[in-house]
Symmetry: C2
Subunit: 191 residues, 2 copies
Amino acid sequence: MAPPHTERADAVRNRRAVLRATEQLLNEGGGDHVSLDRVAALAGVGKGTVFRRFGSRAGLLQALLEERSRDLREAVRSGAPPLGPGAPAQERLLAFLDVLGGIAEGNATLLSAHEQACAEDKYGDPSYQLWHRHLAGLFADGRPDADADFLAHAVLALFDGALIRRMTPPEDPRRFTRSVQRMAMTLLRPL
Amino acid sequence: MAPPHTERADAVRNRRAVLRATEQLLNEGGGDHVSLDRVAALAGVGKGTVFRRFGSRAGLLQALLEERSRDLREAVRSGAPPLGPGAPAQERLLAFLDVLGGIAEGNATLLSAHEQACAEDKYGDPSYQLWHRHLAGLFADGRPDADADFLAHAVLALFDGALIRRMTPPEDPRRFTRSVQRMAMTLLRPL
DNA sequence: GCATCAAACGGACCGTCGGTCCGGATAACG
DNA sequence: CGTTATCCGGACCGACGGTCCGTTTGATGC
């Protein structure tokens, strides 16, 4: 019954500590303030531990990002409409961008750091590919004549940490999301 | 007549050598293959010289990018329509994206390296601001009801080195540009 | 409890990077 | 040719991401 490979208790504890330390450093300063030495020190853990768990700087940030979007992933896959399957493409698109935009607005610094770390491999990231597939499907559904693949990339290209920060004034924290939604609607509109 | 500050001959020679070395290294390998030590070595120049001329890695890549787009800048500012002033917004937009797309397609590696180097300051780059102003003006002209500022950012967000590489198959080298133009036309279309 | 051992730990260590600094070289000019 | 402002070069620095391996520790069977 029990899986042959159960994770040791200290491993679990350390992984959590590392993730917490990472988010704390991200909140304290810019993305380049998060060096792996600092993360390890703040987590009370050796540097090697960080790398064994997450493989690289990119992997660490990816893990944090994945944690932040796990619920959305589930909801899109098998949740209730309009986020989950069943609703018309336009409604699903709006609902999806509403949540994804919210996550992005709340994690702009993390996004920046992740972009920087992934560098050239941004499009190979599993999260990116998942969102891209979802968006492309919705665009293809709502507007079969368009290049859904490209439009999906175009929408995701907006989720840039620095752009979000620049477009998110304190008095209107959801401005970015609204703009993205408006643009997506424009792109979805049939010729 | 002669300007009070004429540049010393060796300074001019070295600046050119550094730029050539940079582009050669960019062509040889990925953007992270271009370290400033390597550039200096290949240019037959000391490292300090590179920094005195260009200030930083970002400055070096920016200079190269600026060199590549100088003609376009001039044409947009004061050239003949449809690139220059005088033509309707839609035609200017298409003409502009045609040329800018061509430059991007031919310099995807440079673009990647520049993004990486500028990191958080992408939106403070003079080139970015210039193109953004131009695009925002055209959007505002053709579709006064839209958020021209955001749309301009959205279009520029497409000019990502990795995305361009991924969207530019050898047998269709202008696919990226066409996609960008199509999207821009969709965004310009009035409600 | 205790012995055993795979798993996990930690931090010294490495190569490289972007960036600085200053003594020495050199181009421009009269 | 002498003077001087400018420019040059490369040793140097701190920090970074990533590796390695001797040591510790949690799980497991007895």
